[in-house]
Symmetry: C2
Subunit: 663 residues, 2 copies
């Protein structure tokens, strides 16, 4: 260490005594900042900053876990039946009878997926989302496909859930129908804001709406079945207008289409496998049991609701949801019980959107850490939240809501393909993993990123389970893509490959950049910088110019002013002032007959470059006055900014800004 540097360090040590602790290792000085945050308008909006060390570590039990992770899945019962009926309506109200058998098929699929995911949970105690499972077992391309599919679907979860929530409210208060898109966007913004403040997922608060919904729905079903069995249920009074008239006969295509729409009931089932680490030990066991409970409840609710909705002759409509029709039939009108049921449904739907707000940024950060999304997504904001992810999700979901005017039926064709794509990739990945395990000797272990592979005598059976799960969801995905293709599914089938292409473009960029910047085997240029030629672009000569001249003289012997002359009257003035204030430095006037402001300087610099010696560097010293108020900058050429943008592209040019603060 040389004398000059040692003194800097001593200085640094001197001023760091006021409250900050200092730690020294050789020429490295560590200082912590005692009060590192500045109070700011943001503090009022998103709350006091949290220390990195404040990250929550508490874990949750099965009952709370069910509440936290089930809201997305359970909320699907609020729209899945309706979306089956919407399709069947094309063949007339008689076709509504197919809804119940279709719901049985969907619940069977649910059982398959549940068993399959239960195995994933045990294999990946550290969290086994489709992205991780695909990455570890299938490779980068399938992982990125899963990532793209899931990101898309989280966005749609927000749009669909919030739109459905608003549809429930509008069923009770039809006067809100015209402004439903605005209400939905407002809700998204509120949820985003809550998430920017940071939500403790494990919070007890989350349990309330889920159990409130569960209690209300169970009560509604029990009362409904009681009235059905006693014959006092009756038909829905004053049903809303049917969405469309009977125009076609019942076909296999129609049934499959209705089935595909209904499988939206399965969205959210994967939530627990993402969040295993939140559970108390033995966490895989607890998470697995919670998953099974969740599926049982989901299946029961879905079948029960579909059955009763069929019995009362409810009609799918944009004006009133079938859940609302069922509730007012069972409770005999729009009374307080009815309102409670509608409120509970709305609440759970909003909770479901909230789940996506937890998952989307987390997955984004995972992909960003792997270098497939912009690095900025890995940064946790002042409240320990991936704030950029939260905002991205809020904006895209809001745009979707506005474009589709908050219509669930119009959003549904886009939805759930991503979920089933990720189901398929995740289960296929698991099947391949079991095959790898099958090749292991009894005592052998294989460490992977997300999990450890250990011998398992039942690997063959488990492989079949996951394989069958994967196959089933793949078939559903194809049914989805085919039956909903013209309705909008093609958009998703275009977007996913596009996203994957973008992800790999991003990945290549980071790889190439790392390669271009790495210091491994780097031999820096032999000749150091010993001299600097300085040019000062001068628009007019003012106090800021003098500050720049002085700074330039302090770093180089070789300084020249440069003025782009648009017309002789103007540059005569600059010349006159320079003669007085230029401290004897030369001034070059670049005449610009085409009134270009920057290219003359650029070509002048290029000319200088051709004749500088290798140890010389060109420095552009830009005088800049800084105005106080934000709007004042619109009243000036942003010369300094534009010059910077021009010169950073020039190799061997360094840019110096000498700001002059205007009082």
């Amino acid at each position: 260490m040389e004398a000059g540097e040692a003194s800097v360090e001593a200085d640094v040590l001197n001023n760091s005594t006021n409250g900050a602790s200092v730690e020294e290792t050789s020429n490295i000085i560590r200082r912590n900042t005692p009060d590192g945050f500045v109070r700011h308008w943001k503090t009022w909006v998103v709350g006091r900053p949290l220390r990195t060390a404040d990250a929550p570590h508490q874990t949750i039990g099965k009952a709370v876990g069910l509440a936290v992770f089930a809201s997305d899945a359970l909320s699907s019962t609020a729209y899945a039946t309706q979306e089956i009926l919407v399709i069947l309506a094309a063949a007339g109200t008689l076709a509504f009878g197919y809804a119940f058998p279709i719901s049985i098929a969907i619940v069977t699929l649910l059982a398959i997926v549940t068993i399959s995911y239960e195995q994933t949970i045990h294999a990946y105690p550290g969290g086994g989302g489709a992205y991780i499972v695909a990455r570890d077992n299938l490779g980068e391309l399938p992982a990125q496909i899963a990532g793209a599919a899931l990101l898309m679907d989280y966005i749609l979860t927000v749009s669909v859930s919030v739109s459905s929530g608003v549809a429930q409210i509008a069923s009770a208060y039809p006067e809100l129908l015209p402004v439903r898109a605005l209400i939905a966007v407002g809700m998204v913004m509120v949820i985003a804001w809550i998430n920017l403040r940071g939500v403790r997922e494990s919070g007890f608060v989350f349990a309330i709406p889920t159990y409130f919904f569960l209690g209300t729905m169970v009560l509604t079903l029990i009362l409904g079945f009681f009235r059905y069995l006693t014959g006092s249920l009756g038909m829905v009074e004053a049903p809303p207008h049917l969405l469309q008239e009977s125009i076609q006969s019942v076909s296999l295509f129609l049934i499959l289409h209705a089935f595909a729409n209904g499988t939206t009931a399965l969205t959210g089932v994967e939530a627990i496998s993402n969040g295993i680490t939140a559970f108390k030990e033995p966490r895989s066991h607890n998470a697995g049991v919670t998953l099974i409970w969740m599926s049982v409840i989901l299946g029961t609710l879905f079948i029960g609701l579909t059955f009763l909705i069929g019995q009362i002759g409810a009609v799918p409509s944009e004006e009133e949801t079938v859940i609302s029709q069922l509730a007012r039939t069972i409770y005999d009108g729009r009374n307080i019980f009815y309102l409670v049921a509608v409120a509970a449904t709305t609440l759970i739907l909003i909770m479901a959107a909230n789940t996506a707000f937890a998952d989307f940024p987390r997955l984004g950060a995972l992909q960003a850490a792997d270098g497939y999304l912009p690095r900025q997504l890995t940064y946790k904001g002042s409240r320990l939240v991936y704030s950029r992810g939260v905002m991205t999700l809020a904006i895209i979901a809001s745009l979707l809501i506005l474009v589709f005017n908050a219509s669930v039926s119009r959003l549904i064709p886009l939805y759930a393909i991503g979920v089933f794509m990720s189901f398929t990739l995740s289960q296929t990945g698991m099947a391949i993993r079991w095959r790898k395990i099958g090749g292991l000797k009894p005592s052998e272990e294989l460490k992977e990123t997300g999990s450890t592979l250990r011998h398992d005598p039942k690997w063959r059976f488990k492989m079949l389970v996951n394989g069958f799960g994967g196959l089933s969801t793949a078939v559903v995905m194809v049914i989805f893509a085919v039956t909903k293709f013209t309705e909008g599914a093609w958009v998703i089938l275009l977007i996913i490959p596009t996203l994957v292409t973008i992800f790999f473009k991003i990945h290549n960029h980071y790889k190439n950049l790392a390669h271009a910047l790495t210091l491994e085997n780097y031999v820096p240029p032999a000749n150091g910088i010993t001299k600097s030629r300085v040019i000062i672009p001068v628009a007019t000569v003012h106090r800021g110019t003098i500050a720049a001249i002085r700074y330039a003289k302090s770093i180089s012997e070789n300084v020249v002013g440069v003025h782009v002359g648009l017309n002789p009257e103007d540059y005569q003035k600059v010349e006159d002032k320079w003669k007085i204030w230029g401290e004897g430095l030369p001034l070059v006037i670049l005449e610009s007959p085409y009134r270009q402001l920057y290219t003359p300087i650029l070509s002048y610099i290029k000319e200088l470059e051709t004749q500088k010696s290798p140890n010389e560097i060109i420095t552009v010293v830009i005088p800049e006055f800084i105005t106080r108020r934000w709007w004042e900058k619109w009243l000036h050429w942003h010369t300094a900014d534009l010059l910077r943008k021009l010169f950073v592209e020039q190799p061997g040019v360094v840019i110096v800004e000498v700001p002059y603060q205007v009082e």
Copy 2:
């Protein structure tokens, strides 16, 4: 001149031999750039750059002058009658009979304004727009009011004229009605594009549409009157639906309202007074004669059209203009003659919009030169056009068209108040000018910015003429404001004061800034800069960092690296690399428990500032890698940008960017 600087100059002289001529006066070097422009996509869009010296100097005679400047005024006949009828329709079709007397009153007003403006033209041979006349005779506030009123009205001229042009087209091709706003915006864009390429106002090409319109209209009127006198004119066949049913009786308010709507016929009369310099000598005389000719033609057309429109029982409508109804009645159906008449009307309306595209940027540049609008508006682009003004006008006019769905009747309430406000200010200014002249002795002269005041024996009469003109237009303006207040005129009455306030805010900013930056009586700080403390913010250590370290060492002995440490694992890596590559410089780790990236550096710098000596300056050397493709910058923190924005606000801190271009 010292040795170091002399050598720079010698260098400069050496490299400037390749084609560029060099002129030297003391230490000032002038160079002209032989081929100063770079071929660029812009060249294809707006054309080859033009030299400042290429500005056109040719002047025009009366016949071409009439064509160039009359399009705006004459085009108003395309909608003025219709807008009178729209108001009268409120009292039923019988009230349409009032249209003709109203048109007589309007033409009387036209005569007053014409005589008044004729005097202005002689007084201001250098161009006597309302802004200049008000500024020279009434002061800054009235001038800025006139400026605001005129800018508003140029915008409305574009919106109204283009909307009316599209309404003519849609009258002939009703299937275009639903997309009329889009067509109108498209037209505005085309006109803006033509103006960005630069239009030679004095061009002969401009004469064609005006004389085509004039010829067609005169023919239509002659044939119309012939058929009227021979009794073969008849009524309009299949008139469109009336805009509104009869709901009120004829009242004075209604008549005044209709009159106010009709005075839109006078918009554009001021055009010649703005463009006097374009005329051949004796230019005031030629311009004056042209103005009178224009008014006579305008008055004749307007009265003639209004009379015939009344005779055929035309009905004002959004579907078909009354001009279209008249043309198809006179020409017996939608034949080729009809189409020619409609085409001529459309063309002249588009020419009128084009006039506003010449006037708006010119007025904007005038106000900007006086310091009431952003200076950038004074800059002529590569095609010698005030391009920012052109784009501003195009954008605002397009927005208006979209908001009002290209409906002339809905735009009209906003229109013409500004014109009459500027008429009033201009004529009042002239009257005051005559009073000043009345105080002059026969041989005395008084130089003002825009004109010279000379004794005139007839000053009293001329003062009365202008005074009466100003009074008349003031009365019309009040009628306007009152009768159209609730329809939308209140918007204008709010916007104009707001604009004027903004103009003065801008003016104050420029004044204060000039005061803060002036070198008059400036005593620069006594102590020069002799030392620099350099800090290098280090995010990661890469090749770009090494370039920055080297540069920093070349300008100072006192260099320290600074790293904001978010978590120990990460900053350990930075420390390890720094030990190898840091060239022995100290590195300060600023621990940031709240994950803030910039505030720790900022407070570190503030700390350094408190203890630096007066001749020392703090320099922040920012390493920055520059990626090749535009989208790649989205994949990185814009650390360099953000740090710059932070540090330019800090007095006594200089920012150095050392770019490292990634291959």
